[in-house]
Symmetry: C2
Subunit: 235 residues, 2 copies
């Protein structure tokens, strides 16, 4: 199974076998995903079309269309505060089964420990196994853990949600916009996000949402959020 990175493009960016990349996409491919010219990645148009592409300077060449019967038509990034113990293993496994494109572990004010590099390797191995078992076409990307406040930068092109149990926020089910091509959803640590974290996220364009009236554990909330988003977007 190819371990290729994926990005969402607007259908209009694909023309005559080429994909013209926005400045943000160039930055994401080069600086965040660390791809170089000639490297391959997946471009998806959010309407169920996927292409294998090869990075050039400010554009990418389309090599071939891809068959993606088991992949979602949207790119979902799960930003998840690292839970205690080995709970993150199960989050990676379940969310991979549910079609997540990228998992971004974050350190929050209430996260206790910075994980060892061995943990990251372990999560990537779990994601690869789960992708294969669930018959996905691609393995989700697991990013290196970063501080939550540095991860929530403003970007108007993606739909963004932050899940919070306390507070009278609307249920995520009412807000999912299934025509989006990129969705980011953030779930908190044991004890929830701090007020300041919620404020920062809202300032960066995240919509605070509820996942229901009961208090979910930090390892259950990501699975519930992914289930609701993937079911809503599945064609």
């Amino acid at each position: 199974m190819p371990q290729l990175q994926r990005i969402a493009i607007a259908p209009s960016q694909f023309q005559q076998g080429q994909i013209s990349l926005t400045k943000e996409q160039q930055h994401y491919l080069g600086r965040v995903l660390r791809l170089r010219e000639g490297d391959r990645f997946i471009a998806m148009d959010g309407r169920g079309k996927w292409w294998l592409a090869q990075l050039a300077a400010e554009q990418a060449e389309v090599l071939e269309p891809l068959a993606v019967a088991t992949e979602l038509p949207v790119s979902i990034t799960l930003m998840v505060a690292l839970p205690k113990g080995n709970g993150f293993d199960e989050v990676v496994r379940c969310c991979t089964e549910l079609g997540v494109a990228c998992i971004a572990p974050v350190l929050s004010d209430r996260t206790l420990l910075n994980p060892s590099p061995q943990k990251l390797e372990r999560w990537r191995r779990i994601a690869a196994e789960a992708a294969e078992q669930s018959e996905r076409s691609f393995v989700p990307t697991i990013l290196e853990p970063v501080a939550f406040n540095s991860a929530v930068t403003a970007d108007a092109t993606t739909q963004r949600y932050i899940c919070e149990a306390r507070g009278e926020y609307p249920h995520l089910k009412h807000l999912i916009n299934s025509v989006s091509t990129e969705i980011i959803v953030a779930t908190g640590p044991e004890g929830g996000w701090t007020e300041k974290e919620i404020e920062n996220a809202i300032a960066a364009g995240f919509q605070p949402v509820s996942l229901g009236r009961r208090i979910l554990r930090a390892v259950t909330a990501p699975v519930v959020a992914l289930t609701l988003i993937s079911a809503s977007c599945e064609v």
Copy 2:
């Protein structure tokens, strides 16, 4: 937290402080739940009203109305084929957080082992802990394991789904009828239900449904099914 059994009633069954019980409800309370005259249980009308009731012969006396801010307006029974190892612990924990009313472990053609009585005690303890942590008002009932084919008896009053990964079944999200007061959802073992089990379930009024295009593990499917049903029914 009271460990009381719950049953769903039609609003018309509640009159002047009394609940008239149907023959099926009398059977369920007496034979399945093993309550005797004078025992207490919860009656819920599927529209968000709950009462503490006391069993008499063919009726029940209402003792007091109950406040249920964190409980679902429907009674969801999860019928789940026992997975290998300790996977069921996590199913009980997550589904309790998601508002399940009753968990019925079943032995399927592909279930390897009949669990020990200690397991049942363990699951009930986990359900009680999870109900408390998720701030629910009630602890879900965990029934004793029975064979799947004896558990799927016909009953026209409940909505019934059987989840199956293979086969071109409609997605559960399209079929949930959120005005139901009682829903049963069945999820299978590793390797899925046998053809004969699916046929028996369909004959008993179960609708076969899909949970999406990817293959979910036996421990993920119940959480996904519960998430979709509870989100759809949550007021």
